[in-house]
């Protein structure tokens, strides 16, 4: 018994000692803020470790803004000068964000490449000081550590990261048409090897913490914590800080070595990379790969390779200089401008400008378990929404359920989710053949066959069983929503939700409102779309809405080109050469020749001869012969299962021969072919803005790029007009108009912009 009591006493002492400790830290903390009025960066000294905390009070994320950098330098100087400090920990006090990157606006505010180069050099200088700091600095990473943030972290001596799903490391600069301009191109190859560094910088992909550890990008991982005496987020950051402090001390007292014992593999790899011939081969291979994928339309990847090469072959001085100069050059390119525009647009299209819906959608029912229906179910069911997938046949339903399962199971195989999470998610999916439980539905999305009569039947059936607040969304690619809503007894609850196939891959969702659609209905549809992870544009009603309407004239032109004897492969090469990710002929096959025929006919009726060009009969004949595109194994091409390469369908020769047109050599050069396709697309997009179908050019650009694959390097049709010049485009169109008539008549808004060069869609 006495033993117990004495142990009890011991535990009391421990508790007291703990208090003493926290008292000390409290005192030091109270001193720190008194020293200056810094708002973004601060530090406190814990024993002999300076804990540098970042927090941008004006934003949800930390960026390396001017303010942040200035305060950081100030703090860094103080830490260096402080004799009580032996080491430092760099941490963000924002739960869930380390540093999301450099401040893009800072780059955009520059007018010349020299200015940007200077920015880059300042960044390089700052990180060089961090790298050479006599006091070791440990970066404690929780949440995104991207771009400039990653460059900062890799300049530190040691990196500890949480295993949280939010923690990702990466260099996404390439996606903005830039390069890692603060030493990234120089430090990364040394840290993760040349191939690894190229992979990171050229793809810009996010790397999760556990992968980063394997690559050698971070030294130590910390598990996220659950509930304790504080909220999980708060305590996880605290814990991360505690571990990082231990590391910092460990480095100072040499318990942790910064020069890692190299493994056998590492030694071999280093030896191989030490051979100049091997390195040259790598540059060559990587450059060839980049050229193949980018068609030379994107300068950033090439500049990244160039900068890495300069550093490795001519030494750090040349390397850093090349990096800074290339960064400056890239920042002034139209490609970078376009990509940054898309980035901003994407951010804007991830917000709900219609406000918070009156009631959140918790139960969603999807009609039709086809490719689209099941795809919608797949992106919904894992967002905590109970999802009903209804079809009319067991076969159709099973196929759809299998599609959802496969989608989730693929994620399990890639280890992004566990098999348990897959099963748990699938528990929220109900497959059924009847309307039972529809009385609980908050929203119904129908994805049945594109036929007005069927849609009318469905809407009547559904409205008989759903509660009054339930929204009826229709997934159609061309039928005007008001025509579908005509059968509804409550048109204010009817809205269009146009998903793109494959739903789990395509980011865009086009939401279509009629004049009767209520604002709350729209808000609710946008909220659901955002939950599904979509980039959303909200457009007005009309035949083909926005996206299909832009695509139709381009496809009509593509058919005409085929009739004029352009080989499908050539047609594809010309379109991809312009920057489209998928060639026009392949696109037609992907969309489905039958769908294309359907749309062409419908829109042709709605818009008249302006939508002419290729003969719809070409498509119809193809459908008759069973050439419906990829899904039927034959279209413009022949698809053999398991084979990636595809050959031109030899039988379409006959079809095209039947409808053969003679090309006019004046408008049939390769470049003309490209502009004939693109100008019709762009003109229609501008007309959508003119007619008020589009809310603005931003949504127009986002819709075209994310939904239809309009070349991202051009930033979308509107940015293209701004960059290319409306007058030049109109000039080309007029030339085509002379040959083909009203298919190429520029719309009024485009003419206005052509007349007045100060008029621009984007400021």
């Amino acid at each position: 018994m006495a033993g117990v009591r004495s142990l009890g006493a011991l535990s009391r002492i421990t508790a007291k000692r703990y208090n003493v400790l926290s008292d000390i830290s409290c005192r030091t903390f109270s001193v720190a803020p008194a020293m200056s009025a810094r708002t973004h960066v601060n530090y406190e000294v814990k024993e002999d470790v300076a804990v540098i905390r970042m927090n941008d009070p004006t934003s949800k994320v930390n960026t390396l803004s001017v303010q942040m950098q200035n305060e950081m330098i100030e703090v860094f100087n103080e830490v260096l000068a402080n004799d009580a400090v032996q080491s430092a920990v760099l941490i963000s006090s924002k739960p869930g964000c380390f540093i999301a990157g450099a401040d893009i606006n800072m780059i955009q505010a520059c007018n010349t490449s020299e200015e940007v180069t200077k920015l880059s050099q300042e960044g390089q200088k700052m990180f060089a000081r961090i790298e050479n700091s006599p006091k070791p600095i440990v970066a404690a990473i929780n949440g995104p550590c991207l771009g400039g943030g990653l460059e900062f972290a890799i300049a530190c001596q040691y990196r500890v990261a949480t295993k949280s799903k939010k923690t990702v490391l990466g260099t996404p600069e390439v996606m903005l048409g830039l390069l890692p301009g603060a030493g990234g191109t120089q430090r990364l190859p040394k840290m993760v090897g040349i191939p690894g560094a190229f992979d990171m910088m050229l793809t810009g992909r996010n790397i999760r913490a556990d992968k980063a550890k394997k690559m050698g990008l971070v030294h130590q991982l910390v598990d996220p914590l659950g509930p304790g005496l504080k909220s999980p987020e708060e305590r996880t950051i605290e814990y991360l800080e505690e571990v990082a402090i231990q590391c910092a001390k460990g480095i100072v007292n040499k318990k942790i070595s910064l020069t890692k014992e190299k493994g056998m593999m590492q030694k071999v790899q280093d030896y191989v990379m030490g051979i100049e011939f091997v390195r040259q081969q790598i540059y060559k291979t990587v450059t060839a790969k980049v050229m193949k994928m980018s068609k030379g339309l994107y300068p950033a990847p090439l500049k990244i390779i160039e900068s890495v090469k300069a550093g490795l072959e001519q030494g750090p001085d040349s390397g850093y200089l090349a990096e800074a100069q290339n960064f400056g050059k890239l920042a002034m390119t139209s490609e970078s401008n376009a990509l940054i525009g898309l980035y901003h647009g994407q951010v804007a299209c991830k917000k709900n400008r219609f406000g918070v819906p009156e009631r959140p959608v918790k139960n969603l029912a999807i009609l039709g378990a086809g490719l689209m229906g099941a795809g919608i179910a797949q992106v919904t069911v894992d967002k905590g929404i109970h999802t009903v997938l209804k079809d009319t046949t067991v076969e159709g339903l099973s196929r759809g359920q299998q599609q959802v399962y496969k989608g989730l199971n693929d994620k399990t195989k890639k280890k992004t989710i566990t098999s348990f999470e897959r099963d748990f998610t699938l528990a929220s999916l109900t497959g059924q053949l009847d309307y039972s439980g529809f009385e609980k539905a908050d929203m119904v999305i129908e994805a049945v066959f594109e036929d007005l009569n069927i849609k009318h039947r469905v809407i009547k059936e559904v409205e008989a069983v759903i509660p009054p607040h339930c929204i009826f969304a229709t997934n159609t690619s061309a039928l005007p929503i008001k025509d579908i809503a005509a059968a509804s007894i409550r048109p204010e609850k009817v809205i269009g939700m146009h998903y793109f196939s494959p739903v789990d891959k395509m980011q865009l969702l086009e939401i279509i409102t009629t004049d009767k659609t209520s604002k709350d209905t729209t808000a609710s549809a946008v909220a659901v779309g955002l939950k599904q992870g979509k980039v959303i544009i909200v457009v007005g009603d009309g035949p083909g809405f926005y996206t299909t309407r832009c695509l139709a004239p381009m496809l009509a032109e593509a058919v005409r080109l085929l009739q004029e004897g352009v080989d499908p492969k050539k047609l594809d090469a010309l379109t991809t050469g312009f920057g489209f990710p998928v060639g026009a002929a392949t696109l037609a096959d992907e969309v489905g020749i039958d769908v294309a025929a359907h749309v062409a006919e419908d829109l042709g009726k709605a818009f008249g001869s302006r939508f002419g060009g290729g003969n719809v009969e070409v498509l119809k004949t193809m459908v008759e012969k069973g050439f419906k595109g990829r899904k039927s194994g034959k279209g413009c091409y022949v698809y053999t299962p398991g084979l990636k390469s595809k050959d031109v369908n030899p039988d379409i020769e006959d079809v095209l021969g039947k409808y053969k047109l003679t090309p006019n050599p004046l408008v049939s050069s390769d470049s003309d072919v490209q502009y004939r396709l693109v100008s019709r697309f762009v003109n229609e997009a501008v007309m959508c803005l003119q007619e008020g179908i589009l809310n603005g050019p931003v949504e127009g650009d986002i819709g075209a790029v994310f939904g239809l694959g309009f070349p991202p390097c051009l930033g979308g049709p509107f940015r293209f007009v701004d960059t290319f010049g409306a007058n030049k485009l109109v000039e080309k169109m007029k030339r085509y108009e002379e040959v083909y008539g009203n298919h190429f008549t520029p719309c009024q808004l485009l003419l206005d912009h052509a007349k007045d060069s100060s008029k621009r869609f984007h400021k």
Binding site: L7, V222, D223, L225, G226, P227, L229, F420
Partner: protein, 481 residues
């Protein structure tokens, strides 16, 4: 030392269905006496003995006896046995200790976690092997580390429902041998081989076997739902509650020190001696190893490296062992001439998030069962919590002592408070005595009964966590002696 309940029991006639009310009445009358006669500690115990937890219309259920085999480190003296052998030993020990006729039991229930496939209903094999009448039905239950708690409460349920009067419940775990399986691919091939009709089919199946087929599948001590091992989760839990390595090592040392004291003082009277076939007779737990803080501090973290705090020394170890208890309706026990040890009162099972709150069962179960029984933390004289990890125990104590946690996660207005350490696991715990998963629950309950008798308290509380994010808590009341 003498205490109130002893005094009361001397006066109480062993009676009737109405014992509950009788006790309550008598308690009130008796409550004055000791105040005059004894010191402060007795007074404290005495005030509590004012009420019993008997409820009108609910049968009183008693623990008549509880025994267990010595708990041994896996791979030691029990290494060559099978699980039912251990369970058999416990059952025979119980028979021996209680002189219970072999056909006087209505039902036998056993808890186990890792099942030996040959004896998947280990309760049945063990009861037959222990010589119980073959007319007694038996079944096996599983709920991770609270499996024998489930066995006991199942028995309580059967008695309460009027289906049975006499139940033997127990638990067994045998980690010296675990089912290691062929890989799924290999199993599939072997099963197909069974069905193959021609030599050609057989040969082609045999030919399809690759090296990868031969990789065995080990039973994981990991959550199926999260794939996280329990030690890893315990380390995260300790970190979440800010439990330091020092606190954990101190608690582990405490457990071993107390267990050693209890063992030396002969307090662990539930342990039976067991002649292991082909080996020596074992009579003592062999995992109790009081060490020093310096020794403990030398160990490296076992799960989260390099900065974790859970080590081999502050975790419970893999253990072989079995336990058994005799549970009866009070009426039946008295009719058979037994002197019960304790009442089994209110109990709860709880469950929560298996990822971040895997081992918080006691924190959730304790307030809930106290509320059911109408008791407060202060009313409890004896606490026996299952010690899975020192860090887990400390985290649970901190959770119980946190208003924030009570409000944020348990929907309570205030905390119930942490148990007083001078009442807590005073005879050691799973960390030192060992933790045969399926058998620990009965050990906890028997220990509470024995401690109540020894220390003279009236109420005891058992609490335990279990894989799957589940937990159990039970209130035990001393039987008036």
């Amino acid at each position: 030392s003498l205490c109130t309940s002893n005094i009361i029991s001397n006066i109480l006639p062993p009676v009737s269905l109405w014992t509950g009310t009788a006790v309550r009445y008598l308690d009130k009358k008796e409550s004055v006496k000791p105040v005059i006669s004894t010191g402060s500690e007795q007074r404290k115990v005495q005030t509590k003995s004012k009420k019993t937890l008997a409820k009108p219309g609910v049968k009183n259920i008693v623990l008549v006896e509880g025994v267990r085999t010595p708990f041994l480190l896996s791979g030691t003296t029990y290494a060559d046995l099978m699980p039912h052998d251990l369970a058999r030993a416990a059952l025979q020990g119980l028979l021996h200790k209680t002189s219970l006729p072999k056909d006087a039991v209505d039902y036998i229930i056993y808890g186990t976690v890792i099942q030996e496939v040959k004896t998947s209903n280990v309760a049945r094999e063990a009861s037959l092997g222990a010589g119980f009448s073959d007319k007694i039905p038996s079944h096996t239950v599983t709920m991770a580390c609270i499996s024998s708690n489930v066995a006991m409460t199942t028995g309580v349920g059967l008695i309460t429902a009027g289906q049975c009067d006499t139940i033997v419940a127990g638990g067994v775990e045998f980690m010296s041998d675990v089912p290691i399986r062929h890989s799924r691919k290999m199993r599939k091939t072997m099963l197909a081989l069974n069905r193959a009709k021609t030599l050609g089919q057989r040969l082609s199946l045999i030919g399809s076997i690759r090296m990868a087929h031969l990789t065995p599948e080990l039973p994981a001590v990991a959550e199926f739902s999260t794939a996280e091992t329990m030690g890893h989760s315990a380390d995260r839990l300790a970190a979440a509650f800010g439990v330091t390595r020092l606190e954990q090592d101190e608690f582990a040392l405490r457990s071993h020190t107390l267990a050693k004291q209890a063992q030396d003082a002969g307090l662990l009277s539930d342990v039976i001696s067991f002649k292991v076939p082909g080996r020596d007779t074992v009579a003592k737990d062999n995992g109790i190893r009081p060490s020093s803080m310096e020794q403990l501090a030398k160990l490296k973290p076992a799960f989260i490296k390099p900065h974790g705090t859970v080590t081999a020394a502050n975790s419970s170890f893999l253990t072989d062992g079995a336990s058994a208890v005799l549970i009866m309706s009070e009426e039946k026990a008295l009719a058979m001439g037994y002197k019960p040890k304790a009442y089994l009162r209110d109990f709860v099972f709880v469950s929560q998030d298996p990822k971040d709150q895997l081992l918080l069962g006691p924190a959730y179960g304790t307030p809930k069962v106290l509320a059911r029984a109408g008791l407060t933390m202060d009313d409890i004289d004896v606490f026996e919590f299952h010690e899975a990890f020192a860090g887990q125990i400390m985290a649970n104590l901190k959770a119980l002592d946190s208003d924030w946690f009570a409000q944020t996660y348990m929907g309570r207005k205030v905390k119930v408070g942490a148990p007083a350490m001078e009442k807590f696991n005073l005879w050691g715990g799973s960390l030192s005595l060992g933790h045969p998963f399926g058998a620990t629950g009965c050990r906890l309950v028997t220990t509470v009964a024995h401690r109540l008798l020894k220390e003279g308290g009236q109420y005891g509380l058992v609490a335990a966590c279990a894989a799957g994010g589940q937990g159990h808590a039970m209130v035990i009341e001393a039987y008036p002696q």
